[in-house]
């Protein structure tokens, strides 16, 4: 077998220019695919990180039915204190969970005493919220980076529209669960940057203030946002949590809790999916490039070596060995192209990181593209290229192995 490898390598070096051109084509294809995978992956994970770490969390738990009506922020579909306690106990049992943050979400009126507009507010425990969505504080563009009782953080679009600034006094009025209306005066503690996605233009206040505005005697939460220690375990933890909470039934025998990952809550998931689909099609293009170039080279190789095939066949080389010889040549072309492509891709990714390419996403600016290549990506792409190379060599190799020696020897 080693001898066949040796002969295959020598056959490839016999036509140096052609081998080099084909390998270069494969190498460039591999390089572009890997760089695209790295850059699009970086973009995707920056975006996912922005969304989950700024407001959404990795997983959210609501009362069943709440998400379907989430636009109206129904107070009637809040989790009761008892349910919330059970939920907290369950969350405490899952070691993969780093932090969680209960939130009261409600819609109300926001007034600067001259003008009034509507506002969506999250009542949160500041420490828990910051632990769950660690980028939250970085969104506070003006004012102190904290959420204090008696203060409200408002989105910058609202501040601009109503011409209010930090330390101004405003009023928030909301309809309570029983239908009565209540208002409370707040000081603007800070102005927060809006981000793309659900909840990206919400205001924030301390959860105790939210309870006061809504005249809640007992804690009722609209949602609990959860942060995981390891984002890659998202689906595993989500499934486990769902399974644990599925035992909690209401008086009608239906499940109380509704567990959703960020993917089911944010429209950005579709963008992320689109990136995955694009990556898939780019990989398909690479496969086509490899397939066509290797097949072309191997067909040429077989055509040019018909007499040689006749000779080795005449002296007793079995068809299987002739097949192997050409498959090995295809294999080596793939290996060489993939290896050079990998080296080029690693170099290019290193350069991109060196140059610090920044971009804007929605209202966020200055996000730095930091592509990285995982060993998995490199191995996966290389394996595809090598397998496709062998598959592409299969038809010409099969043709060579099936050649009648008498016809091959007669070939001029």
């Amino acid at each position: 077998m080693l001898k066949l490898f040796k002969i295959a390598v020598r056959n490839l070096t016999r036509y140096k220019r052609r081998t080099l051109l084909t390998s270069s084509l494969i190498a460039i294809g591999v390089m572009f695919v890997l760089v695209f995978v790295a850059a699009s992956g970086s973009f995707k994970y920056i975006m996912i990180g922005q969304i989950t770490d700024s407001m959404l969390g990795h997983i959210q738990v609501h009362k069943r039915g709440y998400v379907a009506s989430i636009d109206s922020l129904p107070l009637t579909l809040n989790l009761s204190e008892k349910a919330e306690k059970k939920l907290e106990k369950t969350l405490g049992e899952i070691l993969e969970i780093e932090a969680f943050s209960p939130r009261i979400k409600f819609g109300g009126m926001f007034s600067n005493f001259i003008e009034t507009t509507n506002i969506r507010v999250n009542g949160v425990y500041p420490e828990k919220e910051i632990a769950t969505v660690p980028l939250f504080l970085s969104r506070i563009k003006q004012g102190e980076k904290s959420i204090k009782e008696g203060e409200i953080l408002i989105p910058e679009l609202l501040a601009t529209g109503l011409k209010v600034k930090v330390r101004d006094t405003v009023v928030v009025i909301a309809t309570n669960r029983d239908g009565s209306v209540n208002g409370k005066q707040f000081v603007i503690g800070g102005i927060i940057e809006s981000v793309t996605g659900p909840g990206g233009r919400d205001g924030y206040m301390h959860i105790k203030d939210a309870m006061e505005v809504l005249r809640m005697d007992e804690m009722e939460v609209s949602e609990v946002a959860i942060r995981l220690k390891d984002f890659s375990k998202l689906n595993a933890v989500s499934n486990r949590l769902d399974e644990m909470l599925s035992k909690e039934l209401n008086t009608q025998g239906k499940q109380v809790f509704d567990v959703r990952t960020w993917e089911k809550l944010s429209p950005f998931y579709n963008v992320a999916r689109m990136i995955d689909v694009m990556t898939f099609f780019i990989k398909l293009m690479l496969i086509a490039i490899v397939l066509v170039s290797i097949m072309n080279v191997m067909i040429m190789a077989v055509f040019e070596r018909i007499r040689e095939i006749g000779t080795i066949s005449a002296i007793g080389t079995k068809p299987k060995k002739i097949l192997s010889l050409f498959l090995i040549e295809g294999f080596f072309l793939g290996v060489f192209g993939a290896a050079v492509g990998n080296i080029l891709a690693i170099g290019l990714v290193f350069l991109i990181n060196l140059v610090n390419i920044s971009f804007n996403f929605g209202r966020q600016s200055g996000l730095v593209l930091s592509p990285s290549l995982s060993a998995g990506d490199i191995l996966w792409i290389s394996a595809i290229v090598i397998i496709v190379s062998v598959v592409a060599a299969l038809q010409p190799a099969f043709k060579a192995s099936r050649m009648e020696p008498v016809d091959a020897l007669r070939h001029i």
Partner: protein, 234 residues
């Protein structure tokens, strides 16, 4: 027991709608350790006959036994194995593998076809390279040696597997007289030393003079069998 037994061998080629009868009911027997030549003008069927004996092609009708094996019944794989074990080939254009050195070309059948162990392989290759006088050129590639040297390497390659029969199609056609005689001498020496049967297809009077028996073909028919000078010398 004859090495080759051909009875009523016929080979018909179909070229579009035209049928060409390349061999017409040819019968003969060849004993082991013979030095034989098939002669005849172009198109007489010499190469076709050699292809049939070499299991490179199958007769349209008739039977052909080589080393007691009915070769027309062999599958492609069996035919390849049979060629590898029993036959050696020498071609007019030498047909050495260009990416292999002289040594590797001779070694090829032992390594790829017969899987002979390393030490034995080395001994056999070196011994034959010495016999054909190519030991000092063993690391050269075919494009670095002359035509005569190439044919000597081809002879070594054909003999390295210890075949019972070597088929040589116009082996001296591309060689000058001196080199041609040298190659014929080597083959005769191999025949005498190892009892290998050589069958030539040739126009070359140098070979005709050296072989033991000459079969004459014309228009696909065997029209004569004469003793060559080689036979009288033997």
């Amino acid at each position: 027991m004859s090495l080759i037994n051909a009875k009523n061998l016929t080979k018909v080629y179909t070229l579009g709608e035209i049928k060409v009868e390349a061999l017409k009911s040819v019968s003969f027997e060849i004993e082991p350790a013979s030095f034989i030549s098939f002669i005849g003008p172009s198109g007489s069927g010499k190469t076709t006959l050699l292809n049939l004996i070499g299991c490179l092609d199958k007769p349209t009708s008739g039977t052909l036994k080589v080393a007691e094996v009915n070769t027309s019944e062999l599958t492609r794989k069996e035919a390849a194995s049979f060629r590898g074990e029993n036959l050696g080939f020498i071609f007019q254009d030498f047909n050495l593998i260009p990416v292999l050195t002289v040594y590797e070309n001779v070694e090829y059948p032992l390594l790829i076809v017969q899987n002979v162990p390393s030490e034995e392989r080395k001994n056999r290759v070196i011994s034959l390279l010495k016999t054909v006088g190519m030991m000092d050129q063993k690391d050269k590639y075919p494009d670095q040696i002359s035509g005569g040297q190439k044919q000597r390497v081809a002879v070594a390659r054909a003999l390295v597997t210890n075949p019972r029969l070597v088929l040589a199609d116009e082996p001296t056609a591309n060689l000058d007289s001196k080199t041609a005689f040298m190659v014929i001498d080597i083959m005769r020496q191999m025949k005498e030393e190892f009892g290998v049967t050589f069958i030539f297809s040739t126009h070359d009077p140098k070979i005709v003079r050296e072989v033991e028996t000459v079969y004459t073909l014309q228009d696909g028919m065997l029209i004569g069998r004469t003793q060559g000078m080689g036979g009288r010398h033997a």
